[in-house]
């Protein structure tokens, strides 16, 4: 069996890589001593992929929420629901749909091979009927209703609506009650056939298992299918904001705010990892828990422990955002903008840069405690044409000049502000 073995001595980890003749890639990260074995089978296809060109040249424009709907439907098989079959083996199956990925996975402690075969089998064999599509509309409808009442999700999507004029990242992952009403069996199969091709998918296994049997199962079970990677089409996105401010009223105890900046720079591969890491360090240095700003706002009672910041950077979109609860979102917004301007002006302190970089490297090392997190990160990096393990190299190579460059390039842009006020 022909596979690659890569040792990352500094991390104490080994990665195994296998290329299937169909173009599908498979990875294994061994975790000696772990009971949990997890496997993930994912497609480079998410909620933002509503417009695409099929291999026969036809351009499709499908309803919002269809990738997520398809994810729900793949669990259904002619002889029953896959959830039941995994349950019978004592394993727990699940799936998620993000802006850009759909992943099916399970975790188990026993009978890994049976579980793994089942995963590879059902994702390659959809069984969608008019009847089971209709039934799912009730369930997904309630999922949508649940998130209508979630302030954290509302504020996040309202922010995306501020940041983006055209890009579908601003759309709800599950769609709307109206858009899912338009989903039918035929459309689901169109999407399945376009995106669930081996060349557009990846398998990641993590746990205390040997590479040889894992890759043998992959080798035997992955079926060759027509079509490579479909051509995804995204609308042109201007560099300007859609709007600077959006507000909604919900039943919350005090106002919530979320601010963000849209990153117009499109990257992939190692350069994307590097930019993401730099953005994380910049945010931590401006508003992290050791920053002057965080402590001043906290001390003045303008923010509390709920304050967080985050970086999202993918091949077709990217943004940074931050927020939490505040009695005075407008004032916090002003203070943060002033501090951002001052930091752009003077650059990041070299000692602060070194300290935060070291801290973020520690957080990276910690992720290897969890087979689930590793599997997800390895998948995400692969679809972005890089390797999660290359983060080690990023932490060696990333310097303050590059980081200050990113700071001066991005943080001169106007942030948008999304606010949820109490009813």
């Amino acid at each position: 069996m022909d596979y690659k073995t890569i040792n990352y001595d500094r991390l104490g980890e080994t990665l195994y890589e296998y290329d299937h003749p169909t173009g599908l890639k498979a990875f294994l990260i061994r975790k000696p001593g772990y009971n949990k074995k997890t496997a993930l089978f994912a497609a480079d296809y998410g909620s933002i992929d509503n417009v695409f060109k099929k291999s026969d040249g036809q351009v499709m424009n499908v309803p919002d929420g269809i990738a997520h709907f398809l994810e729900h439907k793949l669990f259904e098989q002619e002889d029953g629901n896959m959830l039941d079959k995994f349950s019978k083996l004592g394993s727990s199956p699940n799936a998620f749909t993000s802006f850009n990925q759909t992943a099916y996975y399970f975790s188990c402690t026993d009978l890994f091979e049976e579980n793994f075969r089942m995963l590879l089998d059902y994702v390659q064999n959809p069984w969608i009927t008019d009847e089971n599509v209709e039934k799912e509309k009730g369930i997904i409808g309630q999922e949508i209703r649940m998130y209508e009442d979630s302030p954290d999700w509302r504020i996040f999507f309202n922010l995306l609506d501020c940041l983006y004029v055209n890009h579908p990242v601003k759309l709800d992952i599950a769609g709307t009650l109206d858009s899912i009403a338009r989903i039918n069996k035929e459309l689901l199969y169109e999407c399945y056939n376009a995106f669930y091709t081996p060349g557009n998918m990846v398998v990641v296994v993590s746990g205390d298992v040997e590479p040889e049997p894992v890759f043998t199962i992959v080798d035997n079970m992955i079926k060759s299918r027509e079509g490579g990677r479909p051509e995804k089409r995204y609308p042109d996105e201007p560099e300007t904001l859609n709007m600077e401010y959006k507000e909604q009223k919900l039943r919350v105890s005090m106002p919530l705010f979320n601010m963000g900046i849209k990153d117009p720079v499109r990257l992939s591969g190692y350069e994307l990892l590097k930019r993401r890491t730099a953005l994380g360090i910049i945010l931590a240095s401006i508003m992290g828990r050791s920053s002057e700003l965080f402590n001043r706002l906290y001390y003045d009672g303008l923010i509390n422990d709920s304050f967080r910041f985050d970086v999202s950077a993918d091949q077709s979109y990217g943004f940074v955002n931050w927020g939490g609860q505040s009695s005075d979102p407008e004032k916090v917004s002003r203070e943060i903008r002033r501090e951002i301007d001052a930091t752009v002006e003077r650059g990041i302190d070299p000692a602060v840069f070194d300290r935060i970089k070291r801290s973020h490297e520690g957080v990276f090392v910690r992720t290897f405690n969890s087979p689930d997190i590793i599997a997800r990160e390895v998948m995400d990096a692969y679809f972005n044409r890089t390797s999660y393990f290359d983060l080690s190299r990023v932490f060696e190579e990333l310097d303050i000049d590059y980081t200050n460059g990113v700071l001066r390039d991005l943080f001169v842009r106007t942030p948008a502000l999304s606010v949820i006020n109490p009813v």
């Binding site: 729900h72 004592g90 997904i140 979630s150 402590n295 300290r355 405690n369 969890s370």
Partner: protein, 449 residues
């Protein structure tokens, strides 16, 4: 291709003045971790003070006087974490502190991070910044305001809010009704001096459990244990366990209106099974069959068959002997959902349980017990829970107990469980229809043990 399981044990290193020290050694993790738990009876007069203590202590100590200095130090220590919090298990309130850091072999400096991080943890625990026998006034006031904000913000998460309200109504007049962080009005009455006095009581007299996890050598463990002798301990409190037996005379109904889109139905039950009873493991299996996982009766019937909900599940509160069934539904489907749920409950009593249902449940529980051993936090929580429930089982013997449960055992336990309170968070019709938003992960909340 499966390899042997390494036994996970908590090795008792010392017991002195009501503090018990354990070490859970394992080479497989990237991190070392220390957990310290102070136990108190859940009582209204101390609940809010207990809740505020970790937040105030995190604000600085004699060596790092401000939060900012402390956080910068943690960053230097490769993103080490020092944190604290407050929660309840049954009618025991637990004030907890923990520290974790990556193992020295993953650092370039190869410093002794364990000693440095545990020193920091002990500094915030034992040497807070104080004045006039109280915490520093501005810091105290900020944290008191933050606690009040936190208590008020329970309303933001409607699923959790309705669960807490159901418990509060069901256990009205019992200690368990007191929320994990106490009450807003009690928090507002606290002063820096009163809270400092309760903090002193905590370090001097609350029973305390300490766990060191990771790869920690004898020397480091001993040096750490010795740091506890800085505080003189006396008059160690007793923490008792609640009586779980309760006969329900009449089922209570509580409806509350709110401007929300989705209704939340929560049904609270008395299990009449204590955690140390031989019926406890059958109860865990009962809960798994009824609403613990995707194969469960609730998931299958409320979600998969009737398409009424995205989530429908049951969770146990082990120490107080409670079970709560939760589901998010349209208001007009309320009666229908309630009927289906109660039908499942009756089916359990009547023994309408298939071999497949019990087998799937037992396997899933077995998987759960094994995977707990892959997380340092979960391992520590397991051992602490075993102390609290006075259950001497370890991971292996617990798995055996669950394996031995029969359908007859489950039906016997089913006969003891009584519906107590039905809580419904009702949309009041004022919430305008918005463009809906969605979560990424299709994961129903996990059932409790």
């Amino acid at each position: 291709m499966e390899s042997g399981t390494v036994k996970t044990t908590a090795e008792k290193l010392a017991e002195k003045d009501g503090i018990t020290f354990y070490r859970i050694n394992s080479e497989k993790f990237k991190t070392n971790r220390v957990d310290i738990f102070f136990l108190d009876r859940l009582e209204r007069q101390r609940a809010s003070a207990n809740a505020i203590i970790p937040s105030v202590l995190k604000r600085g100590c004699s060596k790092f006087e401000t939060q900012r200095e402390l956080e910068a130090r943690l960053e230097e220590l490769y993103g080490a974490v020092v944190d604290g919090g407050c929660s309840k298990k049954g009618e025991t309130q637990i004030v907890s502190f923990h520290m974790s850091h990556i193992a020295d072999s993953y650092t370039s400096s190869r410093d002794n991070l364990f000693d440095q991080c545990s020193e920091l943890l002990m500094c915030i625990l034992q040497n807070p910044v104080a004045e006039d026998n109280g915490f520093k006034v501005p810091v105290f006031r900020q944290e008191r305001d933050n606690l009040v904000d936190y208590i008020r913000s329970r309303i933001n998460d409607k699923m959790r809010f309705s669960f807490l309200r159901c418990i509060e109504e069901m256990c009205s007049g019992e200690a368990f009704a007191i929320p994990d962080e106490g009450y807003e009005e009690d928090a507002l009455l606290l002063t820096p001096q009163k809270t400092f006095a309760i903090y002193r009581e905590m370090v001097e007299s609350y029973p305390c459990y300490v766990y060191m996890s990771g790869s920690i050598d004898d020397g480091s463990a001993q040096r750490f244990i010795e740091q506890f002798s800085q505080v003189a301990r006396a008059g160690i409190r007793k923490v008792e366990f609640p009586d779980v037996a309760k006969t329900v005379k009449e089922v209570r109904r509580v409806d509350e209106s709110m401007n929300v889109n989705q209704g939340k139905l929560c049904m609270g039950f008395r299990t009449n099974v204590s955690p140390s009873s031989p019926d406890y493991y059958p109860l865990v299996v009962y809960n798994g069959i009824l609403g613990g996982d995707v194969h469960s009766k609730l998931f299958q019937n409320v979600r998969e068959k009737a398409s009424l909900a995205y989530y429908a599940q049951s969770v146990l509160e082990k120490y107080k002997g409670l079970m709560v069934i939760m589901s998010g539904i349209e208001q007009e489907n309320r009666d229908k959902a309630e009927k289906i749920i109660l039908r499942q409950f009756e089916d359990m009593r009547e023994g309408n349980i298939t071999r497949e249902e019990i087998d799937a449940t037992k396997k899933s529980l077995r998987t759960g017990i094994k995977t707990m051993q892959d997380s340092q936090g979960a391992i520590v929580d397991f051992f602490l829970s075993q102390h609290l429930s006075q259950d001497g089982e370890d991971f292996e013997s617990m798995a055996e107990k669950l394996e031995a449960v029969t359908i007859d055992d489950v039906v016997r336990v089913a006969g003891k469980i009584q519906l107590d309170t039905i809580y419904f968070l009702k949309p009041d019709g004022t919430q305008p229809q918005e463009d809906p938003q969605a979560e990424l992960l299709d994961e129903p909340m996990e059932g409790g043990f």
